[in-house]
Subunit: 425 residues, 2 copies
């Protein structure tokens, strides 16, 4: 294995924020500070966009208190983006620009914290560097609340959203239980464009047959409105009220989204349709067909940033993935993503591994069918066993003297540009 | 003052649940157990409906662990309702039925935990008992997340929703900050049919001019869409992204709700219109007029039951109000509601007082104009000073071995009916 080059490390965050993506950044920064071959640490403002536009800031200039404060600060402190590079051929100018930026700043280590699309970008930058003979170590760090990255037992970010959403479901369920003769149905819309991992995690709230949620619907199982109404009626007959969790990305038998978001921005830059409105739609369906009052809760971006009740296990693993990425890069690895491997279930034990970025890029890990019951409307014991270890413990918060949490922000000491101005879009 | 009668205490909960309404019930039950004149403690299933239908259960038969577990269990464990009795004349049969139930069970103490409408009901039952010469001590215990009861500095339930919503706003605001070039606007819809207390509390999240929420709109100040769009544009120009908190009950200059909920159940039994959809509406307005992408979060019933991050101050005061209600009743008071009086701001100190139920019933305490800035789009220092003491501390949770919170449920040992069957509706 080649001698590790002396050079600068670049860290970037990408895609939708999570409660613990900053814990991964913290792991990268703190570990990089310990490595003698790392001569500087830069942050790319807003993911790969910051790299393209040479919009970089000096992370070594930040206060160590700020760096450690990342552990209790949600969302992406370096700045995030939704931006996908095309193939090496179609987006040649962009890839060349990236390499030029890396060379201009002697960036030899690139750590990209993100999901499927980000791993695709990282993989292409890796190919480019190899083709150009530029010694660049690229390691991807998994991040997604959706938990849909393949080749890893689970993704940092998922345990925290799972813990918060299960708890919020438990709480809203008690509301339904107290008010069922007035508001008979409570719908909770969970994030999850294509996969039901988050909705399924809400099922952890259910310990006995009176507990919420009584019903759960996920995108992997085609949604049948009539069967759904039948399920709701059954629970109404048994308990008088019902709490239902639905994934935002529910699809009908033909694979069409049950409800795409209205408004002027129906699709993002990747061509993904922005979803939402499923719970609202089902509320109206229930009221019209079953003649009972329904409500819906849509926790939206609050769910993915809920550091105030995040999983300590998740936070530790997010940190570990960041730390391990640096160690792997310095040890000579490149073009890989850090993975989590569950080596023991009881007691739960997880170690890191690696997988080629090309194995991960653009692939989706769906909720296994056996994690849902035969009727496709609740989780099984297998799902409980999979998810429960991931939600353990609570992340200690830094509190402000006003009694609310204290989050950190970088000072963002900008690094002078060395290349001509360039606009990524 | 007359000798306190020996007899049974009846406890009921009413209206929308809160994170700490059970703490008030706990205060009533634990204090009533200490009082020798109280010969039994009954719960009325689903508020006044349970009393009308003689659907009562024995709270002394519950495990003491369950009673103390009420402190960390959200929503209304006794069961709640939305049910308002008419005048003594128009609903004579119901009032007579109530008195008959009280007499049949020798109920001499009635503790009603609720909001404006509940205090009206309690007041009428009080008048009836006096007219009938039946020695009944009725004490109301304030409860509402809306914080809109008059004659009390604040209401138990408010501090907890304030703390959770301010925190959720802080968290979602960091999401907007990281993603502003893609999702420029985040709207958060706060509960509040007629008052802006909860939306205003979200303002506590804002400590400097980059912090969310940058804009807040409340029902007390007529909503002007053009001024709103101008405000949003100003923040977008300054920061690139904006997090806006809106009350569900925003009204236009003519006093009409900006948006009433769609669906088949547009009004509840009190004739209150069920609101919602304001944030969704404003999202579409922003996208159409400002050509930027917007999102909305609607935390719904999750916000009012968030015991996992509830205010310890709020929980303690909720307990204290329950406890004090029993002491006042045993001391001979009736027809009153317990109030909270802030006797010192620094250090914050609050003691209980009482006010005649008739002073509270059906009245609304609006957010004072001076708690909002001149532009009507954010809070002032006066609001911060009012609200901050109410959100201090965190309620200790009981945790289940699975790592999620543990909530209690009553066994609900039903008390035999002594009167003929009767349907309240």
């Amino acid at each position: 294995m080649a001698q590790s080059p002396k050079g600068v490390a670049l860290v970037a965050q990408s895609g939708g924020p999570t409660a613990v993506i900053n814990a991964s950044a913290c792991g990268v920064i703190q570990e990089a500070l310990r490595q003698s071959v790392v001569t500087g640490i830069l942050g790319a403002n807003r993911g790969i966009l910051g790299a393209l536009e040479e919009d970089l800031f000096d992370l070594t200039a930040e206060n160590p208190e700020t760096i450690s404060g990342l552990l209790s600060t949600p969302s992406a402190a370096i700045g995030s983006c939704r931006y996908k590079l095309g193939s090496l051929n179609s987006d040649q100018a962009k890839y060349e620009r990236l390499l030029a930026v890396f060379q201009a700043h002697n960036i030899r280590y690139f750590f990209y914290i993100g999901g499927n699309d980000s791993m695709d970008t990282a993989d292409k930058v890796h190919q480019l560097a190899q083709e150009a003979g530029y010694d660049l170590r690229i390691v991807g760090i998994p991040k997604t609340i959706d938990n849909d990255l393949p080749c890893t037992d689970h993704c940092p970010g998922y345990g925290s959203v799972a813990k918060f959403m299960a708890t919020a479901t438990m709480e809203a369920g008690r509301d339904t239980e107290a008010m069922y003769t007035f508001d008979a149905v409570t719908l909770i819309e969970a994030m999850g464009r294509n996969t039901g991992w988050i909705a399924a995690a809400c099922g952890l709230a259910c310990r006995d047959d009176r507990d919420a949620p009584q019903l759960i619907y996920v995108p992997e199982i085609p949604f049948d409105p009539d069967r759904f109404l039948g399920d709701v009626e059954d629970v109404l007959r048994r308990l008088g009220g019902v709490c239902v969790v639905v994934s935002e990305g529910l699809k009908d038998a033909s694979g069409e989204y049950l409800r795409a978001e209205t408004g002027s921005f129906g699709a993002d830059r990747f061509g993904h349709r922005q979803l939402g409105g499923v719970a609202d739609y089902l509320k109206e369906l229930i009221e019209a067909r079953l003649k009972v009052k329904a409500r819906f809760n849509k926790l939206g971006t609050c769910q993915r940033n809920a550091i105030h009740f995040a999983s300590q296990t998740d936070s530790r693993e997010a940190y570990l993935c960041g730390q391990e990425a640096v160690r792997q890069a310095v040890a000579g690895r490149s073009g890989v993503m850090i993975t989590l491997e569950r080596i023991s279930q009881q007691p739960y034990e997880c170690r890191t591994g690696t997988v080629a970025l090309s194995q991960v890029a653009n692939k989706v890990k769906y909720l296994p069918r056996e994690y849902m019951n035969a009727a496709g409307n609740h989780i099984t014991q297998a799902m409980r066993e999979y998810a429960l270890p991931l939600i353990q413990g609570t992340v200690p918060l830094r509190m402000h003297e006003d009694g609310l949490p204290l989050f950190v922000r970088f000072r963002r000491l900008t690094v002078p540009k060395r290349l001509p101005e360039w606009k990524a879009r």
